[in-house]
Subunit: 345 residues, 2 copies
């Protein structure tokens, strides 16, 4: 099957499809016992990301178990930062960048690199995954958006208040923009590289976009989100994700992506209206709803699908990633409901 | 001056006022060196909360320095949980409740108590604060909403995924509702108690409301928010705050409060429209904007005030609390701009 025939790709191209394709953000992860088994042997998160056989294996696990329509590569949005020269590790707090960028010399030292030469493990994992996937299942690659990568690079990890980032953004705007320039270039290369290695759709995660008001996002982040989509030349559908960014939906719909992912606090049918029917819309069951009993998960999933039935370009997903405490049975109920929706297949 | 003549109270009653009153959520706090000095001597956060002289002193500090139109009592939304029988401490992670409620016997053991008998330090701090405030400055009391208190009580602290809370909410709904029943009763008593001790306006903080989709908030939280306002009989204006709850604005406007606080990702003029002009609206400068240079803070503050100039019931505030890394100069620029807006005072 050519990738363009796969359900996810057809839906992202807003073709007429028999049902909405389904996949889940962070579907390869700690909520699955088979994932935890691989991880226990691998040693750590980053070790798995950099071992193509292991990354491919955990990418395939949820597809084997649930049969969703797409696999998203097991990797991390911060991998390109490490390739650019920033030490990166993961501990119980999450990602840690022990040498955060705070001054001009730090930004100047950051190097835009060739993904094939520095992150070959990503390409290898994509190729291994494609070889192991069922023919009808699409393969999704991804990267963090420049603003979100900058927030990690400047804060040195996840942050509550983004105090360092805001100081740089407001007080040393030119330096902040030089950082975003470099990141946008690296991100575009990383997306193109993944497409060249077999990714059939790409998601750009601007996970922390909602940290900013609309005024600040338009001024300090969106131009570089748009630049990524301008520079990325891969002929595959692209989706932009903005976290809990309902206030940015119309803006994100205009950055050059083919689809926009919406949070579970955004009304899904409303999102189609607000984006003028020009884009595919991905979403948006509350990942917290997966803590409900399976019958209730199925009910909510059906209600969501019914609310946009007949619209072109719907890709069923969560509003955010699967949480580690999730019962796999709930994910099963979600996927099964989607696969059976509106047909007798 | 009778409290009904103070600017904040008049604005919350939607009377015609010469300018919007201004105060800041978490205005007494770590960003102020004079606060840190008191705290260093007090030993800890909870020790300050329970020492009326210290609580009153830090409540008065920002008013002395900036001259805003209201003081909000220095306290914590979790104080009533401790009074109900839950051990409470604060460490570098924030609040910790080492005996979280997970089973029926835990909920049954929770006791609805008389605030005067168990939290007299709150009343004492309010009286001391009132005595130290300028005549024209209003005094604000507050409490956490039942859903937010339940999230702390069940999770045992702040939470990322609310896994325990969601399990209780979805799988043991009757037990969860018994917990909310008790909390709503305690919260209403706590608000009435504060009004009796001199609080001239009350804010109900449903800080984690945005953790829920609208469907879940309407089902599992809002009825108890409404009940608090029904049971609370104090004849003072009441404001409801929902965190980043743009998706709940119309619903929160209908719970019985006189005003609704809006997040900085909500359009302020739009919030007046969406609430039908029936309520006061509090907000909503981005607390992150206080990291900008003072001139930029002033520019944004003016733009915000101009966007709703002429509307009754605007109370200028941030969209969320002051961050600890904030430069006091920025708070000064914010307050000064508000005090000088639209007049030659």
């Amino acid at each position: 099957m050519h990738s363009s025939e796969r359900l996810l790709i057809r839906a992202l191209r807003r073709e007429d499809v028999p049902r909405a394709p389904v996949w889940l953000m962070r579907q390869a992860g700690r909520y699955l016992p088979e994932y935890r088994a691989v991880r226990a042997k691998a040693g750590g998160f980053l070790e798995m990301v950099k071992a193509p056989e292991l990354a491919a294996e955990v990418t395939l696990q949820p597809v084997r178990r649930f049969g969703m329509d797409a696999a998203i590569l097991f990797s991390d949005i911060l991998v390109p930062l490490e390739a650019m020269g920033m030490p990166l590790l993961f501990d119980e707090r999450g990602p840690v960048l022990p040498e955060p960028l705070r001054e001009a010399r730090h930004v100047d030292a950051l190097e835009v690199v060739d993904p094939a030469a520095t992150m070959g493990f990503v390409g290898d994992a994509l190729r291994l995954t494609r070889a192991g996937l069922p023919d009808e299942t699409a393969l999704v690659g991804f990267c963090g958006a420049p603003f979100t990568l900058a927030s990690y690079a400047v804060e040195g990890g996840t942050s509550r208040n983004y105090a360092h980032l805001r100081r740089l953004m407001y007080h040393e705007t030119a330096l902040f923009e030089r950082l975003l320039d470099k990141l946008a270039e690296q991100v575009a290369r990383h997306l193109d590289y993944q497409a060249a290695c077999g990714a059939e759709a790409l998601v750009l995660f601007d996970t922390w976009a909602a940290a900013l008001t609309r005024e600040d996002y338009l001024r300090h982040a969106l131009p570089w989100t748009r630049r990524v989509f301008e520079r990325c030349t891969a002929a595959v559908p692209r989706v932009v994700f903005g976290g809990a960014a309902d206030h940015l939906l119309e803006d994100l719909a205009g950055v050059g992506a083919d689809g926009v992912a919406v949070d579970h606090r955004t009304d899904l049918a409303g999102a189609f209206e607000r984006t003028g029917g020009r884009l595919a819309v991905q979403g948006n069951l509350d990942p917290g709803a997966l803590f409900a009993p399976p019958a209730e998960v199925a009910r909510r999933t059906r209600a969501l699908l019914e609310s946009v039935a007949g619209r072109r370009g719907h890709v069923l997903n969560l509003g955010h990633g699967v949480m580690k405490e999730t019962d796999p049975e709930a994910v099963g109920a979600f996927v099964r409901t989607a696969l059976e929706f509106g047909g007798d297949a």
